[in-house]
């Protein structure tokens, strides 16, 4: 059975159909990429898939459980982790604490052990710290463990978000343009990381502009255009689909108005 199922999803912003009756399924243990030209509705879709937006119609199921309309933290509890295209790092903490915060769902948040700093709490904190440190090594942030988040460079912060999301032990990880703003070498390191996650059994949903990355790591690719499915298949199928080429290169397609491009 598929891990994530999107059924007849629709979201309008005023007159704009950002997502228009979209359905697809993400099988477990695959890398599933969502691509599309600017304004295709990728970020809207991601926000609908994490509870940040509520859809007008349709639903999203994770592991068979309908989470439509639930607040974001419930989606996290159900096993959905994500990173952000525009960084959402906790800049008021150290790098390690950022990752430790990702452990929230697995931590004891009772008041008494915290305010009295009971021995059980200290032990749990030590474990949480060790877990977070291991994750930081895993994503290649070994050198930044004690750094302040606001002193880290952009590329490291991208990985920090991935480590924080992994700390929650999600079933499905949504990566929103993990390679955006990175140079070639850094982008290569990210796709090594994604492949390693996939080998470890993680289901990854990738939204990305970097075609080389998408083609290299994906098992399946969904192409969005104007909020609807344009094509879906293996990277090779999608790359040779004339409709996809048309949407991307604009060959023989009616020119989009500036307003459409600027939107969403």
């Amino acid at each position: 059975m598929s891990l994530l199922a999107v059924e007849h999803l629709a979201k309008r912003f005023g007159g704009l159909r950002a997502i228009d009756d979209l359905s697809f399924e993400v099988p477990a243990r695959t890398v599933f990429s969502i691509i599309g030209p600017n304004g295709a509705g990728k970020t809207t879709l991601l926000n609908l898939m994490t509870g940040i937006y509520v859809p007008d119609t349709g639903c999203v199921r994770l592991g068979g459980k309908d989470l439509t309309g639930q607040p974001t933290h419930r989606w996290a509890a159900a096993g959905l982790g994500r990173t952000f295209q525009n960084l959402q790092v906790f800049f008021n903490m150290s790098a390690l604490e950022n990752v430790m915060t990702g452990r929230h769902l697995h931590e004891n948040t009772a008041l008494a052990p915290a305010i009295f700093r009971l021995p059980a709490m200290r032990r749990a904190e030590t474990q949480s710290r060790a877990h977070a440190e291991a994750l930081m090594h895993r994503v290649g942030l070994g050198a930044w463990i004690d750094a302040r988040a606001d002193a880290m460079p952009y590329g490291a912060l991208k990985r920090l978000e991935i480590a924080r999301a992994l700390a929650a032990e999600p079933k499905l990880l949504l990566l929103d343009e993990p390679a955006a703003g990175l140079n070639q070498t850094e982008a290569h390191e990210i796709d090594g990381l994604i492949r390693e996650l996939a080998r470890g059994g993680m289901t990854v949903v990738l939204v990305e502009h970097n075609m080389r990355l998408v083609m290299e790591v994906s098992d399946r690719v969904l192409v969005l255009d104007r909020g609807a499915r344009l094509a879906e298949g293996t990277p090779a199928e999608v790359a040779s689909d004339p409709r996809v080429i048309e949407a991307y290169l604009g060959a023989e397609a009616p020119a989009k108005t500036a307003a459409e491009v600027a939107h969403a």
Partner: protein, 336 residues
Amino acid sequence: MPAAANVSERVSPASDPAPAGWARRLASARTGGLGALALVLAVLPLAFPNNYFFEVAILVALNAIVCVGLNLLIGYAGQISLGHAGFYALGAYGSAILAARGDWPVWISMPVAVATVGVLAWLVGRPTLRLKGHYLAMATLGLGVIVSIVLSNEDHLTGGPDGMAVPPLVLFGRAVQGEPLWYAIVGLGLWLTVWFALNLIDSPIGRALRALHGSEVAAETVGIDSARWKLRVFVQSALIAATAGALTAHYAGFITPAKASFLHSVELVIMVVFGGMASIWGAVVGAAVLTLLPQFLTVLKDYEMMAFGAILIVTMVFFPRGIVPTLQRLLARGRR
């Protein structure tokens, strides 16, 4: 900023505190700070020439207790309460009325009054904190005004604007009276409040609260229920304010509705901002400075309020993050 910045191994983070650093230094700063606070609280009375100094010190400590709680709400949950004077006064009057009119022993009336305030805060916070934005400030502003009016008008219960006498706290058959004894109680209370708050901030709960402050949307995506945590910290801060209020009532033996005023709520918020948001020590420093300042400024007579305002403005210009965080930042820079 993006592409040029290098990742991980290629740039050594040497410009930052060394690997042993940041988090652990924070922990040792905590122990050192708590030790220093204990020392100051213990040694200070030796220099007090008369009871007036004790009275002022008790007032400072009570305000500091309220501000530490309020700062958890303002600094971490990012919410403003303009009704904390209301919670403070309800704690005071609640316990006073139960003890004076109902003949309850004070050691029972105090916790009952404080718990009731907690329930009230929960009722106000639950609907408002689910909404994004500063609805809590509006709701607590309204609540504070209502509390103030009720306390001034329900003469038969509260004595009206003239205030009411409050029975003393009786423990082990003896009335707890006298400034030095109350100083010891309130000083211990302050020390415990600071200790609890420091522990709290450096725990999974504290990370959840700081995460809300850092990025609410990211906090939610790692499973932090923002509405629930804001509500929890709001109720806790109201409980702390009510406790301080109840202690004030039984210490002073007399209370008036002045403490419930909107102005007092604003004063508490100013203390937090002045000392430094999201800083436990900032709340203590803010409460101490702004409680003591008017005592010194009385020599200026008519110009007192003007001088007070000028000092506030100048401080916020030179210490924009509040006294403690700005000093910490300067110190950290100096150390590099």
